[in-house]
């Protein structure tokens, strides 16, 4: 068996493949064999390096050389110079844009990485079921510092200075929230962690609770210290059994160590945490609804004010923050407000975790500094669009958000820019759509969701969303009119303007943002009775191109409704009245004779 002395890692990400990394790989491998080095040097493709704009990438191990923009014809030089002679190919080295220096060892070029993991610092690193590993990574040091060296006011001041804003979507300054709750006088107060992550397509909070539950526990205790609460509650989705399990283990371990319970670290501070389970209601992500749910009621929101900071769980002042917000807290204490505030943009500090999903190559969990552009996220971290298709939109903010398009690709991501662009940060779902996605259908998909999840308390959300959905359905069926589009817009604005809680106040966003950005698609559905991306079944027609049809009868035999007529070896015809648009004929035709009109 061979013992390789060197490895050449060729990026096999979609971005690099598009710039001929496959040919490069081929050239490198044949070059190595030609030189008789196949037992010494291994050539491999890897996943995306997240540096697609400089692709293709070749990384050499063990010396960590990082070549960028390598062309297939460069293979020979790399083998000849670097592998045989041991001299790095200078012209292919990465140039630091700031210093214009060439970087020889990629260990020293960490800054090319677009991601920075703060909230996710321990995810995928420590064993979440072992408190010792958390402690080894500075765990509970922040709590210790706060309890022994800082007054609650100082901690709050530090949180305010850090600029941390709520990561659940609202973006309310965390330090300020703590300060308000601290100012509310009561015999009992509560710290609540909102872990009712409900956006379809978002799983950041789940990942943090599964990968680093102690960071949330520690932060809740710190918050308790600041607002003078001795009790914490985690409201978590029942659909997250693993996160619940890990959180339970973590709470147990923290209690055993005395990091929860009475007289924590000998400071006289008491704090403990209980779990409360959600039961499948998206609206419970709204804090007043969440509190009612914890009290054993229907998860219906109530009007604010009074805010939970003044009157919350059981009528007591309650500080509600979400999982990711809490996960940031210990690091901020440990590293200081200035450090945290140095990351991000002017008004949005730190990082944001996104669940990148949809038609993108590297589906996954990413954490990026505020201010990164969508282009960087999609093309460099996400590795571009699946199957090389054309990017169409990215949906952020879940059912409350909107669709961002090509023109927003270079907008820096932060709370305010996303709102200005007609979407919102939301909790961090980021769903990428390609040319095959019909934006009217996407708007309808979200409205389906809102209609399902509306609590029904206020009229505009209960009935308005239903009507919006019905109009969209009409348009998708090709039965819409220009008047419907006008109605859609007016109703969207009224539902936003008049709904009781955040759910209804944002639910029309997917409609409005698609109306704004993809008006042509709406027009095509309404005026031409066509769905440009071919998604709306009712607007499709399957036809057989006579020139391509050889009369093999495959389509007719597979049609479930016998809508296709034709003699063997004769041209076949689809009866449009009978066709149910299942697409079976198109799938079975080997001669590309079936097409969609």
């Amino acid at each position: 068996m061979a013992t390789f002395k060197m490895h050449l890692l060729v990026c096999g990400g979609t971005g690099c493949r598009a710039s001929e990394s496959e040919n490069l790989f081929h050239n490198l491998r044949t070059g190595i064999i030609q030189k008789g080095l196949e037992n010494d040097v291994q050539v491999l493709t890897t996943g995306c390096f997240g540096f697609c704009e400089k692709g293709p990438i070749v990384k050499v191990l063990p010396d960590n050389t990082f070549y960028t923009m390598v062309k297939p014809e460069d293979a020979g030089e790399i083998i000849e110079e670097h592998i045989i002679k041991g001299r790095k190919v200078q012209r292919l080295l990465y140039v630091n844009p700031l210093t214009s220096e060439k970087v020889e060892d990629s260990k020293h070029m960490g800054f090319y990485r677009k991601q920075l993991r703060i909230a996710l610092r321990n995810c995928g690193f420590i064993d979440p079921e072992n408190i010792d590993e958390y402690i080894a990574r500075d765990g509970y040091a922040a709590l210790g510092t706060c309890l022994t060296e800082m007054t609650p006011e100082q901690v709050i001041e530090l949180m305010k200075k850090s600029g941390l804003r709520g990561r659940g979507g609202g973006g309310f300054p965390t330090g300020l929230k703590w300060e308000i709750t601290r100012a509310s006088k009561a015999d009992q107060k509560y710290v609540v962690c909102n872990a009712d992550e409900g956006d379809p397509g978002a799983f950041m909070d789940r990942s943090i609770l599964e990968g680093d539950p102690h960071s949330v526990i520690e932060a809740m205790a710190i918050c308790g210290y600041c607002i003078e609460a001795t009790k914490g509650l985690v409201y978590i989705r029942a659909e997250y059994p693993l996160a619940i399990e890990r959180l339970k283990i973590a709470i147990k371990q923290a209690r055993e160590y005395g990091l929860l319970g009475k007289d924590i670290l000998g400071t006289g501070f008491d704090f403990d945490i209980e779990l409360r389970y959600g039961a499948g209601a998206f609206v419970c992500g709204e804090e007043t609804a969440l509190i009612h749910s914890m009290e054993g009621f229907r998860g219906e929101p109530t009007v604010k004010p009074p805010f939970p900071s003044v009157s919350g769980y059981n009528g007591k002042p309650t500080n509600v923050n979400n999982v990711e917000t809490f996960a940031n807290v210990p690091v901020i204490i440990n590293r200081g407000a200035e450090w945290f505030a140095s990351i991000g943009t002017e008004k949005s500090k730190g990082t944001k975790v996104f669940a990148l999903a949809g038609k993108i190559n590297n589906v996954g969990l990413i954490e990026v500094p505020m201010g990164i552009t969508l282009r960087e996220v999609i093309y460099e971290i996400g590795g571009g669009i699946k199957e090389g298709k054309k990017f169409k939109a990215v949906q952020t903010g879940g059912p409350s958000g909107g669709c961002l398009t090509e023109k927003h690709l270079d907008t820096p991501i932060d709370y305010d820019n996303l709102i200005a662009a007609g979407s919102m940060m939301g909790s961090g779902g980021m769903i990428v759509m390609d040319e095959d996605d019909c934006m009217v259908s996407i708007a309808k998909f979200y409205l389906d969701f809102t209609v399902e999840e509306s609590c029904g308390k206020c009229a505009p959300c209960r009935i308005g969303n239903k009507r919006l959905n019905e109009i969209l359905e009409k348009i998708c069926k090709g039965e819409g009119s220009m008047e419907d589009i006008a109605l859609l817009r007016n109703l969207s604005n009224v539902v936003k303007d008049t709904s009781l809680c955040g759910l209804g106040q944002t639910s029309p966003n997917p409609v409005l943002s698609t109306l704004d950005n993809f008006y042509d698609e709406y027009l095509a559905h309404v005026n031409e009775r066509k769905c440009p991306s071919g998604q709306c079944k009712a607007l499709l027609q399957y036809w057989i191109e006579p020139e391509n049809c050889v009369g093999c009868t495959a389509c007719a035999r597979n049609c479930p409704v016998n809508a296709i007529a034709g003699e063997r070896k004769g041209v076949h015809i689809i009866d449009q009245a009978t066709c149910i648009k299942c697409g079976a004929c198109m799938e079975k035709c080997k001669f590309n004779a079936v097409f969609i009109k």
Binding site: L44, R117, I135, A141, N362, V363, I366
Partner: protein, 132 residues
């Protein structure tokens, strides 16, 4: 477990655990252990991470390779689940994606035993707070 009664207690625990963790990670330490971390969040488990974890534990033992196999949270590479991170003493940690039993077997036989890489490497594409 004994209770941690003060900040100093906490620091002592940190120091000792850190030392232990370094021991198993640092290459120049005499106890050379291979470290395998399996991403065991929901999507990892859903794609079969548990079986991979069991496989690694059993097989490394059977093949008499001194190693520590532990679970960890989501590494973020959901597209490539199950993912595992392998740290061979003296080398950088490497993340392998799309690991099935066949791939796991290759990782042990080729990479852990011989330093030969196998397909499915996921380059780490983020910065940790330590470097910032």
């Amino acid at each position: 477990m004994t209770k941690i009664k003060s900040l100093n207690d906490l620091r002592a625990i940190k120091a000792s655990v850190e030392a232990k963790m370094n021991l198993r990670e640092r290459s120049d330490a005499p106890e050379k252990l291979v470290q395998v971390k399996v991403a065991m969040a929901t999507c990892g488990i859903a794609s079969g991470a548990k079986a991979i974890m069991d496989f690694m534990v059993n097989e490394l033992d059977k093949r008499q390779i001194p190693a520590v196999v532990s679970q960890t949270g989501c590494m973020g590479y959901c597209f490539a689940e199950p993912t595992i991170e392998v740290t061979v003493p003296g080398k950088e940690p490497i993340v392998f994606g799309y690991v099935n039993e066949k791939k796991a077997d290759q990782i042990i036989e080729k990479y852990i035993k011989n330093g030969e890489l196998v397909e499915g490497i996921i380059p780490v594409n983020y910065e940790s707070i330590e470097s910032k």
